[in-house]
């Protein structure tokens, strides 16, 4: 089976740590994925208006690229890319009228009928590797680190593209347990971090993100694991501002789940770029003796 990999814009620059850690882990586990060539922006949000088809062209063009290369599956890391591509794929599979219009509009491309399956990196790990195998491959288990999986909105909603049903966080929980971390459930794992509303609110006024951090701190979570660069920005990089404004009482460092995976698999810490996370993230790793100074 051929698996294409769609990185998306943010992963090449501001969330380099998410991508590099994931690719290094895949290499360590012996999984082969191929980055698509000529990929373009997915649009970050799925167009919700009924008469707006032009914004579906971006994600569908990526799916066409994957089909051209003969890929069966398209794997993404970023939650927003996953949601946009998976929903566009769903539209092309189910809505024949809109599908025909989009295919006719892109007359320079081959027709796309929803052949490629869009999957998230977590699903890829479960299908291609399996949690037991990951457990065997772990070199430096994250013993004693209390981590909570944070899914946010786009991994689970809406239901027809969710990586697992609402209210279940088994994929990331299994992964975190496999790499030796202690998983602490908390009640805001599927709450929204405020997403793009960070543009629409004054700096440090994002109540939604502050609420997530507060529930995590109350539940005794030491670190949040996420797969979305925007969640990481809203929750991780804004924490100092929240502390200044008194919206949160204690900070909770955020990591990408791939960074934790790579660290447990014994990948060179320089590849994980922990310095790109919040400063608290590095401090936590040092305090837990998980990572020497990075």
């Amino acid at each position: 089976m051929k698996i294409s990999y769609y990185p998306g814009c943010t992963l090449k620059l501001k969330a380099k740590n998410l991508e590099l850690a994931a690719l290094a882990s895949l290499q360590e586990m012996g999984i082969d994925v191929e980055e698509m060539d000529r990929w373009n922006c997915c649009g970050a949000v799925y167009s919700l208006t009924d008469d707006d088809l032009i914004h579906h062209v971006g994600p569908v063009r990526n799916l066409v690229r994957a089909k051209e290369r003969g890929a069966d599956k398209l794997v993404t890391l970023c939650s927003m890319c996953y949601n946009t591509l998976a929903r566009a794929n769903q539209l092309m599979k189910t809505d024949t009228v809109k599908r025909d219009t989009i295919n006719r509009f892109m007359d320079d491309e081959i027709d796309y009928l929803g052949e490629v399956e869009v999957i998230h990196f977590l699903t890829l790990l479960e299908e291609q590797v399996g949690w037991d195998k990951i457990r065997e491959m772990v070199k430096k288990p994250l013993t004693g680190l209390k981590v909570a999986p944070y899914y946010g909105c786009t991994l689970q909603r809406p239901a027809d593209v969710g990586i697992e049903p609402m209210g279940n966080f088994t994929l990331m929980t299994n992964l975190l347990e496999a790499i030796g971390a202690t998983v602490v459930p908390f009640n805001a794992a599927d709450k929204c971090c405020g997403s793009y509303q960070v543009l629409n609110t004054a700096a440090g006024d994002n109540e939604a993100a502050a609420n997530v951090i507060n529930s995590a701190a109350t539940a005794g979570v030491e670190a949040l694991a996420t797969s979305c660069p925007l969640c990481e920005y809203n929750l991780g990089k804004q924490q100092d501002l929240f502390l200044e404004k008194g919206k949160i009482t204690a900070g909770v460092p955020t990591f990408y789940f791939t960074q934790l995976l790579a660290m447990a698999l014994g990948v060179n810490p320089e590849v994980c770029h922990f310095e790109m996370n919040d400063a608290k993230a590095v401090q936590l790793l040092e305090a837990k003796n998980l990572q020497a100074a990075v």
Partner: protein
């Protein structure tokens, strides 16, 4: 079955003053809405704005808003339906959307109220509220709606009705350079798509 002629004999329906359609005529109903201080009085609506209302969370000034053929805009109802693809009339005002909404505390009107105003196409009462601009399209409401309405799509329709008149809700040129430098690209792509025309 609910009969419009039987409305006044059913006390519980007083809490559900949804315009029940009878043929092509809208049955009369009375509903109270908090009116934001910025809202312009609807033409034809017999409304008196009696004071400031900055946040309906803190203070509610209820107005009696007669629901009749003059206040209800069939054209606006159709516009919302066409843009969103959703039938807002299915809404039974249970408020699950408001309960699930992570942004509700920052909103002028809660999602439930916006759904109710949408049922009557009262766009003029909604033109100055921030509810649909505060919506983060997280679909918390959509997945929980017991009537199966994708409320995020209704909010998108309300946004688009403004954006398609070439109005920006945020000005990209006014964003500080530092913010642009550190913010992930997906935030800007998503934000500009949702908040600028």
């Amino acid at each position: 079955m609910v009969k419009t002629s039987g409305l006044k004999y059913r006390p519980y329906l007083e809490h559900f003053p949804i315009a029940f359609r009878s043929g092509n005529r809208l049955a009369l109903g009375v509903h109270t809405f908090p009116v934001p201080h910025r809202s312009k009085t609807a033409p034809g609506a017999r409304l008196k704005t009696t004071g400031l209302l900055f946040n309906c969370f803190k203070e509610e000034r209820n107005m009696t808003l007669p629901i009749n053929a003059q206040n209800v805009s069939i054209v606006s109802i159709e516009k919302i339906k066409k843009l969103s693809g959703e039938n807002v009339k299915l809404c039974m005002q249970c408020g699950t959307c408001t309960a699930a909404c992570p942004m509700a505390e920052e909103m002028d009107f809660f999602p439930r109220k916006v759904m109710h105003l949408s049922q009557f196409g009262m766009l003029n009462l909604m033109q100055d509220i921030n509810t649909y601009w505060k919506c983060a399209s997280c679909h918390s409401c959509s997945v929980r709606c017991p009537r199966g309405i994708d409320i995020a799509r209704v909010m998108e329709a309300l946004r688009q009705l403004v954006l398609r008149t070439s109005q920006n809700h945020i000005e990209p040129s006014e964003m500080p350079a530092e913010l642009i430098k550190e913010m992930p690209q997906i935030a800007m792509v998503a934000g500009f798509r949702k908040l600028t025309s």
